[in-house]
């Protein structure tokens, strides 16, 4: 509420948070619009234009503004589609893990002492499991389909949300309106859905924003290792991984998607730090 009393001039000045959010939304829009704005088919190879440098270097041309990779695919188009792939997988994985975490958190907070104890022990144990190794086992077992990535990412990321929701539920349970609803004969399910869930929205949105880059990098990392998104689908991590062999002659094959990833994670980091300063939800999660 402090912002309301601040001078209007200060509120209107674009701050770092607003600028970063705008930048991030632009990147997301670029990814969503990739099929419309990409200059080339991301998978079309052109053997006559292999490993062409970006336009500002000698030998670069405007049709391939960010250069081409070792088999002549346009890097700008692949980066745009890569953003689409990475954000898509990260968003779906995050939604899945949020649903799972919220459900378990509600169960833990409202289900009574024993349910709470069991769910919280599982959560504690889950935190110490080696995430990446579990992901690798899951992928080896189920294959590298995009849906497997979404499922696995969701399955290993839920515990932070379960904790947050449980903490909030325990706090909200003491509120007068929850007690009133219970006194009027409201069932636990009704209380969970009508009175508690709506109050969870804002801390949940903050924590989801904070954990988004982690999920995004998880997909990028797996793809980088070659066990995530499979070719020819464009993925930023996969592009960086595939370009490793050509670093010495054509740095841009790995470099361009690296720059995109760095930009995305830095923007998220700025937004995350600003959000953390404003609302300290993690502290009481």
């Amino acid at each position: 509420m402090a912002e309301l009393s601040a001078p209007t001039a200060r509120r209107l000045r674009p701050d770092l948070l607003t600028l970063s959010a705008a930048g991030l939304l632009t990147i997301i829009a670029l990814g969503l619009l990739a099929p419309l704005i990409a200059p080339h088919d991301p998978n079309a190879t052109n053997l006559l234009a292999r490993s062409q440098p970006p336009v500002w270097m000698e030998g670069g041309t405007w049709p391939h503004a960010l250069g081409t990779d070792n088999i002549g695919r346009d890097l700008l188009s692949r980066c745009l589609y890569g953003i689409r792939t990475s954000f898509g997988i990260a968003t779906l994985g995050l939604i899945f893990s949020a649903v799972l975490g919220v459900a378990l958190g509600l169960l833990s907070g409202l289900g009574g002492a024993w349910v709470d104890r069991i769910v919280m022990t599982v959560t504690d144990v889950f935190i110490t499991l080696p995430n990446l190794l579990l992901l690798l086992c899951g992928i080896a077992l189920l294959g590298t389909d995009i849906w497997v990535l979404v499922l696995m990412i969701g399955l290993i990321r839920w515990e932070a949300y379960a904790r947050l929701v449980r903490g909030q539920v325990l706090a909200l349970r003491a509120e007068g309106y929850v007690e009133a609803s219970r006194a009027l004969g409201g069932s636990t399910t009704r209380i969970a859905l009508r009175h508690i869930l709506p109050n969870l929205a804002s801390p949940l949105i903050v924590i989801l924003t904070l954990s988004f880059p982690g999920v995004l990098l998880m997909e990028a990392g797996l793809s980088f290792l070659g066990v995530g998104v499979q070719p020819p689908t464009a993925s930023l991590g996969r592009m960086i991984g595939d370009g490793r062999d050509y670093l010495i002659n054509a740095w841009w094959i790995s470099g361009m998607p690296s720059l995109v990833i760095v930009t995305i994670t830095l923007l998220f980091q700025i937004i995350g730090d600003a959000l953390r300063d404003r609302i300290d939800v993690l502290a009481d999660g």
Partner: protein
């Protein structure tokens, strides 16, 4: 204190048990290796005989028991591809991973803690701002991008450092730095926050007003209080180090265990993979227990709560 440690040890045991269950289920769900061993196909009777021979026709509970006794005896099976003993595959490559990881941890502690402390004590100094700016970058950028950046700059642009393998001591520099940077950033950021928190406590005021020098206050009353929560962060960072080393080893083509794991995923080599899962989990669980113990020893308040 005994109660505190007993709960932690019980939790660690539950974790390891769960990991073993996951490893066992992964191994069994992946099917039998016989199709793999006999690519030309086998008859139903032959398959049944093989299953009976290896105990795969028994109930799952019994198989799990057999699996547990195997694990307890250090028998983790052989790779489906190379027929190497799984345990030896890791033992051969573990020294490289440990060396790079250990050096990175050391570097991160030696740089991260002073950097964070300095940034908290001299908040407005240009050096502190630049340092924390770098920490901000290092915290956001993933290992593999940092690694690629280091290779391009030091390996191909300046041409001063080797970029592949671990042949000479110089080869260690870039991988260790790549692995350490995110950890330096995390430690420095956390240390700075913990120091600022410690500075606000009333006992710091008391210490200043009774005439201690700035250096004495910083050492005795601020840094000491800030390092206790840092112990927990170090535990998390060591777990993160295991993950990071897989990426750094891939970037710099190091002969560590990371390559073994990635190959095992690609080739669906489950005996190799399950050992990796168990070994990593065991390391993380032991580190966590150690951290808890250190925590109790460092902070008398927990000891008394008991």
């Amino acid at each position: 204190m005994l109660r505190f440690m007993a709960i932690r040890i019980a939790r660690a045991a539950i974790t390891m048990f769960l990991v073993l269950v996951i490893a066992f289920v992964t191994l069994r769900l992946s099917g039998t290796p016989f199709e793999f061993m006999y690519p030309e196909g086998i008859t139903a009777e032959h398959l049944a005989a093989l299953e009976a021979k290896y105990g795969l026709d028994r109930p799952w509970i019994e198989q799990f028991w057999v699996y547990l006794t195997d694990v307890a005896q250090g028998n983790f099976g052989r790779s489906l591809y190379t027929n190497e003993v799984v345990w030896e595959m890791y033992a051969e490559r573990m020294p490289y991973t440990l060396a790079v990881g250990g050096l990175a941890l050391l570097l991160a502690i030696l740089i991260g803690i002073p950097l964070g402390a300095f940034a908290a004590l001299y908040r407005t100094a240009p050096g502190a701002r630049v340092g924390m700016g770098f920490a901000f970058l290092g915290y956001a950028i993933p290992h593999f991008v940092i690694g690629i950046g280091l290779i391009l700059f030091f390996g191909y642009y300046l041409r001063v450092l080797p970029t592949t393998g671990l042949a000479t001591p110089q080869h260690y520099i870039l991988p260790v730095v790549a692995l350490a940077i995110p950890m330096i950033a995390a430690i420095a950021r956390f240390m700075r926050a913990a120091m600022l928190d410690a500075i606000g406590h009333p006992h710091v005021n008391t210490a200043v007003s009774k005439g201690l020098t700035d250096g004495q206050v910083a050492r005795g009353h601020i840094v000491r209080n800030a390092t206790i929560p840092l112990i927990t962060v170090l535990g998390l960072e060591i777990a993160g180090l295991l993950n990071g080393s897989i990426f750094v080893e891939a970037v710099f083509s190091l002969p560590g265990v990371g390559r073994v794991l990635v190959d095992a995923v690609e080739g669906r080599d489950f005996p190799v993979l399950q050992f990796g899962l168990i070994a990593y989990a065991l390391i993380v669980v032991c580190v966590n227990l150690l951290i808890d113990l250190l925590y109790v020893l460092a902070d008398p308040r927990i000891r008394l709560e008991g």
